[in-house]
Symmetry: D2
Subunit: 342 residues, 4 copies
């Protein structure tokens, strides 16, 4: 149950709501909103309790409405925040009416490589620059990223090109460091349920780009976002990047595009699709990126490398610069058709 | 390895190719084509054998080219038939340049219900009418379809409205009967590896609409189509209808849209997407149908019922007539944008 | 809801129960039992309806008890038949207190091969002989079985050795033919939801060995068995043979051994495990066969070939004769320890 | 390729091997062993390179043998360490010839609760005491564990009862703290690819109990262990705890018992099975624990709570004390039968 307070409700009014909830044997959960406060009751109520609780709360001063949420997530739910959220960062708006394109290489390999990639993204009209400094690699013998040196390159190149930067952070104790160098903290699919990391990313107040785990249910995904939101950080962007496939022969994952309308129905958070990891094959990125736009996504994250054949990681899924430019052209036309700003 | 003969190659020339293959210790597989014959070698050859075989065959009279196919399927492969296939049935063309919309209820329930659905499909611009007479139902206690009576209704309504009809056949011994009443034989997801049924449907020479099984790999899917093609029946339409989901909470299956570009790369057969079974939820049909078009599909099959609330099966995923009309409008605009005929 | 009648309840008493159900707006489903009749109500009742229905029925003459089943299956449910069922065929008992070992090659290849396999099974103490005459093969270019010739070999060899025979039937129209030659009809994993086949196998009154489909839920599996049971054929043996794997690298499927206790809790039907298909690797058959016994299975079906290297199908998962003998020894000792007859 | 050096090979001899590898254009990877050193070549070599490299290395002084490993993991591989590894901790040996039982509650809730659980484990003959202080919970609104207070209780109770303790650590920065209080560091399924955590746990030199992720392939699982081993920490115990299920209705996961023989064939590391998380249902723990022993596992981890109904987490899968005692009795008899020490 969520009790949404009126705009301008006083702390006393909120306290009164909490008192009534406690008197009835339950713990209130204050849910801080943007200018507006709500109070949640995480516990499951019996039918009788629910009716009685609703009656007791609905007429209190400062209460705007009492809504039921049967979903286990609260702050991420559309009931709590019926308007779609737009996350704004460095002048880029990720949310309704826009389609953001995030591009760049899997890994930052050198200043030259990353600057070349950034120039392509910028020239083609992309607004967000991705690149990994800390790389979660299945094998300890694979390239692990340039670490701090990579972060410095990201910061420099983002500054030079005016692009918003995003990069992955892999553990709670690195949130501060990564946050100093990049604009958006990415939490990778393998870290989706790294709860200390989610909490620390929430505390940082930086925008958080949260990727769905390969076997995560929708509820688990939204509950992971709830860990960030619950730290008073409303700036969460969800990312669908493919789930465990039936068949690993032709694609690396199965891009679950229907998660876009599902997430949009359940939550107010923006949803971005990653067709590069979602398919693992450069040739399939363009059709799936366009399909993502049409299915209602707020953007795509696409891997592009100045020279995919020499890439130190994930070269097979990276677009070449000219493929990236071609895709941007296609997306621009489709966005115009769809009434979206790119 | 596939040896494609020239147009007009004689039987003697084909026999000579087969003889050479046999002399080298392998079994030739004659692959009948449309006016053109090919010969396959299903066995895996060693590198040395392959080179020697190629040299021995390439210069024989009547041989057009010798191609390698590493894929286990032959007749379905793009190597065998580099041009995309269009299946033509009753004046409707399913294949390149067109986007077919197949609509209708899950089950035929009565003449009135089915005629009402057909009128909606026709008026909205759909060309193929679907409806089940024999229903594969998980429980023996669920509605099993009107059987022969349903087939008669389909034939009557298709005749009255001029729509092409499609309906499911569930066993080999019913192929003849169903084929008398409908234009296209549907083989359902649960029957994808019902091999006697595939062979009999192939023999019928009717167009076959083959749905992917919920846990079928791409290779298994294409090999199932090979059973039909191998009976000299080139009229196979592939249908992606969703695979086993990570999460059954919000969708019934996971629509694997990336299978569209994957299938297009491997095979020449047309690919239709079923967003109704693919999601199981009427609200998600429209975004996924549009995404299917953008991803390169040749059409969609959509469930629509004159009154979904009273449907005897699958009501939750059926569109209402007005939702269907709305979807047709959206698809028509997107098709125009994409340079496709609807 | 299931209304179990007393032993010897008259038809009038059953009719009276059905009348009361109809008067209350629901369809009764007569459930024929072994000497005892029950009546099911497949519809979902509201709480109020359920209480009223129970009150109206419980005191009627001939009613033994009224039980709730929330499960969608009826005849397969433990509520309907609280005692475990033993299927008896040719002097072999499959059910409580016993552990049956079914052995033999994937395919019948010749009289000599099959007789050699049968001799090994017999000598080692196995009681059921398996062998495929009609083979469901993923590719049309793979060996498809000896068909009728294979059935004749099975019948001859079973007669000569005194073993009970089991072989797969792939379509409804072949049930009669296969039933003439073998003792137990096997329905393969790919046919688990071939409903015409299930119905026809039910009608044949032959024992039916039903394999779980690779992506079938437990409910779907038991509902498939319900199609057979519902034809007055109580002789169904369930077979767990592995589900779709996370990882196809080292095993062909994931043997879901926990389905054994799950099925035992929900149903009275015997459960046999197939570790050969469940793993796809001969080396893993023995540990999983023993684990199946300990987990509560009523038997195992194991592939063994006189010479696996020359097998025309599935050679990599077939035991050699001496491996089979070794496994039988291990199973015999473990059965003794466990208080089971082999 | 792995070059295993003779016992007592000198550093000069190892350096010579590395030099030859470098001269041929590849990076050597020194693989520290127990008293014996090996050198790996992580890169994939062409057939020609491989033969030439083998010839160049085989005759060098100090080289014992040159083996191929096609597997991506090195230190975890059976090729590198052909004898099964036993991890010894606090007088308990986890490895060949023994079957370890780890028991205890999901979460440490209080001294009284944890001491009561420990007394049951001890009395029944268990040797390792589990209990979570930091709990990875899907929802931020669920009980998150007692944290440091929980660790203190674990240390106290383990000391009082003489049991070896194990508890989960969720992030790299907590490895030091958790390591001060417990004997074995558990890395949970959701953290299997938390690479900073794996590295830090490796550095700690504490025994590491690594759970398989719910959608992790066998290679991914062993590569995760490689991150720990690669830090010169040979004390890794693998834990199978169930993979993503086909069907969440009756079990929480699908316990993949065939992973036991698969892991045993690929790796020398001990393998423990967790039937509590693997099934999620207390009733199914005993059959699956026994099946695990028979399938070749080195032990089980079982959840037990003094009073499951009041458990703050995962109560539905926890055994009662008397169920735990019953299971221990069954395991003891089966271990005796199997020639294992408990």
């Amino acid at each position: 149950m969520i009790i949404v307070m009126r705009l301008g409700a006083t702390q006393e009014q909120v306290d009164a709501v909490c008192s009534v909830i406690r008197e009835r044997g339950h713990d209130p959960l204050p849910l801080p909103g943007e200018g507006r406060v709500a109070v949640g009751i995480p516990a499951l109520l019996s039918n009788d309790e629910r009716i009685a609780m609703e009656a007791a709360l609905a007429t209190l001063d400062g209460v705007s409405k009492v809504t039921q949420t049967t979903s286990p997530f609260k702050l991420a739910s559309i009931e709590f925040h019926p308007e779609p959220t737009a996350v704004e960062v460095g002048g880029v708006r990720i949310g309704p009416g826009r389609f953001v394109v995030m591009g760049g290489p899997c890994s930052v390999e050198s200043y030259e490589q990353f600057r070349a990639a950034a120039d392509v993204v910028k020239a083609a009209g992309g607004t967000v620059l991705r690149g990994g400094a800390f790389k979660p690699r299945t094998s300890p013998y694979s390239f692990q990223g340039l670490a701090l040196e990579g972060l410095k390159i990201i910061k420099q190149v983002a500054g030079e090109t005016g692009l918003v930067s995003i990069s992955e952070v892999m553990s709670a104790d690195m949130v501060g460091t990564v946050g100093e160098y990049v604009d958006v903290l990415q939490i990778g699919a393998r870290s989706m349920q790294n709860f200390p990391l989610l909490i620390e990313a929430g505390r940082s107040q930086k925008p958080v780009f949260l990727k769905r785990g390969p076997s995560a249910t929708i509820d688990e995904f939204l509950l992971a976002s709830e860990y960030v939101l619950n730290q008073n950080n409303p700036n969460v962007i969800l990312c669908e990047r493919g789930v465990m496939p039936i068949d690993r022969t032709y694609t690396r994952n199965t891009l679950d595009l229907s998660s876009v309308p599902v997430l949009k129905e359940l939550s107010h958070l923006p949803v971005v699709v990653d067709p590069s990891h979602g398919t693992g094959v450069a040739r399939f990125v363009a059709p799936m990126a366009k399909a993502a736009m049409v299915a209602g996504a707020d953007g795509v994250m696409v891997e592009m490398h100045p020279n995919p054949k020499t890439a130190l990681s994930d070269g097979s899924q990276a677009l070449t610069p000219s493929q990236f430019e071609g895709l941007m052209g296609e997306l621009r036309r489709l966005a115009e058709f769809s009434g979206l700003a790119l």
